[in-house]
């Protein structure tokens, strides 16, 4: 254990790629649930760089941050999906192009 090393830049590249995929999905997806999943992908990309930096600097607090990010993501998913259900109930569509007014 500890004998082998992986360059930090590999982790950062993978993390950045996942984040970029999340941003692209956020932009090009029209289904509101797919957009929401793209946000989760972005959070996962950030989590990977948190853990990589925690291992790099031997700072365990980085993993605590990942834990908190996961908790906030869970809360966000619960509230967000409830909002999606509420929007679907009033608009009867999941396409964000048709959900463009604040009023009913």
């Amino acid at each position: 254990m500890g004998a082998s090393y992986i360059p930090l830049s590999y982790y950062l590249l993978l993390s950045g790629f996942l984040f970029a995929c999340g941003v692209v999905g956020f932009l090009i997806k029209r289904n509101i649930i797919s957009i929401f999943m793209s946000i989760e992908l972005m959070l996962n990309g950030v989590n990977l760089s948190f853990v990589a930096f925690a291992a790099h600097w031997h700072a365990l607090a980085g993993q605590i941050f990942v834990f908190f990010v996961m908790v906030v993501a869970a809360a966000e998913a619960a509230v967000g999906l409830a909002i999606i259900i509420s929007v679907y109930r009033t608009r009867e569509t999941l396409n964000v192009d048709q959900v463009n007014l604040l009023k009913l």
């Binding site: 950045g16 996942l18 029209r30 619960a78």
Partner: protein, 172 residues
């Protein structure tokens, strides 16, 4: 090329493939399943870094609980394939090249400034015992605040997803 690097590349390839598949699929349920693949592969990456607790939580909470919630909502709302509109074509036209330029810039910066720093594999004590020591001593207040956040989120979800009740007595 050592064994850990091969493992890293294998999990990373699964991550990349899953992320691209998430973008390529039109049906939300397919996107959700590829997102689960990405999360499971990321748990492997965490395990490779020695973060056992985070890897377990990743599988249980993320790939388990959150994604089940997603799949449940997709099936509840009977979400079908997304149709292409004028807005989506414009978004693809500008979004994909813009993000390609952005990721190339980011990769360039990372590769230029990273030098020869490397991460020791499995050297970090990330077992539940060490995490708990830190979480319940140094991060006790954020931990408790988090429980309040979850309580508020639960109440918010219940209120939002509740059927809007018709006021009693009114003819509808």
């Amino acid at each position: 090329m050592n064994f850990h690097l091969i493992l890293f590349l294998a999990f990373g390839a699964v991550c990349v493939a899953g992320a691209i598949n998430l973008l390529a699929q039109r049906h939300p349920i397919n996107s959700a399943l590829s997102l689960i693949t990405v999360m499971a592969a990321l748990a492997g990456e965490y395990l490779l870094l020695g973060a056992e607790f985070v890897a377990a939580v990743q599988v249980i909470v993320y790939a388990g609980a959150i994604m089940v919630l997603f799949v449940f909502v997709i099936m509840l709302l009977n979400a079908g394939e997304e149709e292409h509109t004028k807005g989506s074509r414009i978004a693809v036209l500008f979004g994909v090249p813009g993000m390609l330029i952005g990721s190339v810039l980011m990769a360039w910066v990372v590769l230029r400034h990273s030098g020869t720093e490397s991460v020791p594999v499995g050297a970090l004590p990330g077992s539940p015992r060490d995490i708990a020591q830190l979480l319940f001593h140094d991060f006790l207040l954020p931990f408790e605040v988090t429980s309040v956040l979850i309580l508020i989120a639960i109440m918010g979800a219940v209120v939002l997803a509740n059927k809007p009740e018709r006021s009693a007595g009114e003819a509808d």
